[in-house]
């Protein structure tokens, strides 16, 4: 064992805690019911094993769900004492904590992300979102959002596959805390934790119809968004779909918040704490296999430290561990689907073709499942496609800058505006650059940090509206100050 990295023996998290049924229906009005649409399979992206079959919600199913949400809003949830709504949310938060391991394992099986991330990040944050919002339910008058904040009614929510349970929490918790009821459509490739969440709602004795889960693909999502009796639409996903949703609600009474794509710049100055900056770069683009809207997918490194940073980065990437998402030592899991893998490969090949230098550690990948190695493109120019288009995979594009102004200009030179990173030891520089960046979330000397109290959302084509914090409540309230 003298010069190769000490390989840890397999340390698999047991699957036995999870009990996946052979098939699932839809969760409408407090119970599981058969859908009227076709079923489709959901697979484990690490092995391509079929996990189960879920229903595809038809328009009729969506209609039923919205009707249930409306009834629950009018008769039960809307009139309920706010403190009681809070108590239900506290119950849900506590049950999520109790069943945390089960949720984490299921998330890794369905999504492909390493168990360490679902166990240490996704699920604890999801529970924290419910806990935080539970406390707001009876304190809205203090939130500084106007004199008499009222719920909008029924919220139609469509969430993506990259953080399935966390995105569910980001949508459902504030909606319920502010007095709305929801119809939620989880992503086609990752429905399972949402369906398990339905069980949690039952365990908490949540009144029927307050939360409805309708699984399906794009058509189901469209039905939810376009349903006439939905008051509020909340969407997280690609900018392309976000555009069509914005078009669809035009001229209606529906409120809309969108959390879309990004191409964040992670800016490293020459006085950055180098080891932590390298860690931050790695976290920024390889956390969750790069399937993160706010991923630091463009590294903007000051030219005078470029070689040193890249050498350190490559060395650090070599120590990442790829493989079985259920292995507790895995850092990089599987790509979520064959489609996504194809897209990543296509853009990467294009990157090489347009003249950037591709670097990947020489590594073995499993034959089955969807895998892509961490990849770094150096000598990338702002004009390259890989500097402009969201890859949504573990691919980092490296550009350089000479001065702070140039860093800001390059960082802002994008139609996206979700997030950015700044690495420097100098406080005033952090504040100055943060002020100049056109991004909704700026991380200084850290990256990819999330908290229920901290508002998250984008500028420009990364969307509008915020989730989390006091500001996140506004999207679900009438007569409140809209952000």
């Amino acid at each position: 064992m003298s010069s190769s990295l000490f390989e840890y023996a397999p340390a698999p998290e047991s699957r036995s805690i999870v009990d996946i049924a052979p098939s699932y229906g839809l969760f409408i009005d407090g119970e599981f019911v058969d859908g009227t649409g076709e079923s489709f399979k959901t697979v484990n992206p690490a092995t391509e094993e079929v996990l189960t079959e879920v229903s595809s919600g038809s328009e009729a199913d969506v209609d039923r769900a919205v009707a249930a949400a409306r009834r629950a809003f009018t008769r039960v949830w809307g009139p309920m004492r706010p403190a009681d709504r809070g108590k239900y949310l506290f119950r849900i938060a506590r049950i999520l904590q109790e069943r945390a391991r089960e949720f984490a394992v299921l998330e890794s099986l369905d999504n492909g992300k390493p168990i360490r991330e679902s166990r240490d990040v996704d699920i604890p944050l999801a529970a924290a979102h419910f806990f935080y919002h539970a406390g707001w339910a009876d304190k809205l008058d203090f939130a500084g959002l106007g004199p008499d904040p009222r719920p909008l009614g029924v919220a139609g929510q469509v969430i993506p596959w990259n953080f399935p349970m966390l995105m569910l929490a980001w949508k459902v918790a504030p909606a319920l805390a502010t007095g709305n009821t929801v119809v939620l459509k989880p992503a086609e490739t990752t429905p399972l934790t949402a369906l398990l969440f339905a069980e949690v709602c039952q365990q908490a004795d949540l009144p029927p119809g307050v939360v409805n889960i309708v699984t399906g693909a794009g058509d189901t999502g469209r039905a939810v968004v376009e349903h006439g009796d939905v008051d509020k639409v909340a969407f997280t996903g690609s900018t392309e779909v976000g555009r069509s949703i914005a078009r669809a609600v035009a001229g209606t009474r529906k409120s809309l918040t969108l959390e879309l794509g990004g191409k964040a710049a992670n800016i490293v100055f020459d006085d950055a704490p180098i080891d932590q900056a390298v860690e931050g770069i790695v976290q920024g683009i390889f956390f969750n296999q790069g399937h993160v809207c706010c991923a630091g997918s463009r590294l903007l490194v000051q030219e005078n430290v470029h070689d040193e940073v890249i050498a350190s980065l490559q060395r650090r990437i070599g120590t990442l561990r790829v493989g079985d998402p259920l292995d507790k030592n895995t850092d990089i899991g599987a790509i979520n689907s064959a489609e996504q893998l194809a897209r990543i490969k296509e853009l990467s090949d294009y990157g090489e073709a347009e003249g950037a230098n591709r670097w990947q550690p020489a590594c073995e990948l499993p034959d089955r499942g969807y895998w892509f190695p961490p990849t770094v493109f150096t000598d990338v120019s702002p004009a390259h496609r890989i500097a402009r288009e969201e890859v949504f995979g573990p691919v980092l594009s490296v550009l350089t800058f000479r001065t702070p102004d140039e860093a800001v200009a390059k960082a802002n030179n994008t139609t996206f505006g979700l997030s950015a990173g700044i690495w420097t030891e100098k406080g005033s520089r952090i504040l100055k650059i943060a002020n100049q960046l056109r991004a909704g979330v700026v991380w200084a000397n850290t990256f990819n940090k999330f908290d229920p109290t901290s508002p998250f959302g984008g500028y420009k084509q990364s969307g509008y509206g915020r989730e989390g914090g006091r500001h996140g409540l506004t999207g679900y309230l009438k007569g409140a100050i809209h952000s």
Binding site: F131, G135, W136, S428, K432, P452, T453, R470
Partner: protein, 288 residues
């Protein structure tokens, strides 16, 4: 009706996470609203108060340094455990205050719900009471609330659980630690609350409950140089002004008692948290 002889509870002080008797060895009789004997409660001395302040100061570093989320979870857990003691609390409140069982139940329900209300505040105070200040210069300027420190609380004399919770929970929600002098004549629910706190992940010393007389302990706490704030709600009639003057000697933050025992079911808003929160404002230049 069983012939079984009950095992009766002993009611001691709750200081630094433990249940000691008073160092003075004294106790006093607690009777119900009809004058019948209920229990002997420990009669806290000024030295017990002194020890409680030391404990509260010792615990302050830990309690205020926990994340707000963590404190919120601990306080919510207290409510969970209170719920489990519902029957015991109802009996003690009914006996001590002379309430019917349905009124006692309403008071206990309200006390638990009040505690849940405050548990949900811990991670929202900074957003509601703090913020960025748009100063007229190239500076990032922000203000944030911070816990004051050790707060002495003279708990209401009449409302032995709901009133107690209403003065104690807000102090804790802000990150302070507390030394509480309970209602003299109705101290038993407070001791049971101490038992709840001891079993709810609340670090020892964060809350200290002294059963005894605010006539005796009030002046010592009001003058104590290591107590940062004092809530005079349960001060003996006519003595509050004197205590306030004593507290002035160390510029303590003071909450005056109301003219009469208030309706504790009313919405408290922020009014019992803000007196024991400092505001820190920080400036930093903005420039490359």
């Amino acid at each position: 009706m069983s012939d079984r002889l009950a095992v009766r509870k002993t009611y001691k002080l709750y200081v630094n996470g433990a249940f000691p008797r008073s160092e003075s060895g004294r106790s006093y009789e607690v009777v119900d609203h009809k004058g019948h004997f209920l229990a002997n409660a420990a009669w806290a001395s000024r030295k017990d108060a002194r020890d409680a302040v030391v404990a509260a100061r010792g615990a302050f570093g830990t309690w205020s340094a926990m994340t707000a989320y963590n404190r919120g979870q601990v306080l919510y857990r207290v409510a969970e455990v209170m719920e489990g003691r519902h029957v015991q609390f109802c009996e003690e409140v009914a006996a001590g205050e002379g309430l019917s069982s349905s009124k006692a139940r309403a008071a206990v329900d309200a006390a638990i719900d009040r505690w849940v209300w405050y548990a949900g505040w811990t991670d929202k105070l900074a957003a509601v009471l703090g913020g960025a200040n748009p100063v007229a210069g190239p500076y990032f300027d922000f203000s944030m609330p911070e816990a004051t420190g050790v707060v002495a609380v003279l708990a209401p004399q009449q409302s032995s659980l709901l009133g107690l919770v209403s003065v104690l929970a807000p102090v804790l929600a802000g990150g302070n630690t507390a030394v509480v002098v309970t209602s003299k004549e109705r101290p038993l629910p407070a001791v049971t609350l101490g038992e709840v706190l001891a079993t709810s992940d609340v670090p020892g010393g964060v809350v200290n409950l002294l059963t005894g007389d605010s006539v005796e302990l009030g002046p010592w706490l009001a003058e104590h140089a290591d107590v940062d704030g004092i809530d005079l709600t349960g001060a003996p009639t006519g003595r509050a002004m004197e205590f306030e003057r004593e507290a002035a000697g160390t510029i303590k933050r003071v909450v005056r008692p109301p003219a009469a025992e208030p309706d504790w079911t009313a919405d408290p808003g922020l009014s019992r948290m803000t007196p024991f929160l400092e505001t820190k404002t920080v400036w930093h230049p903005i420039g490359v």
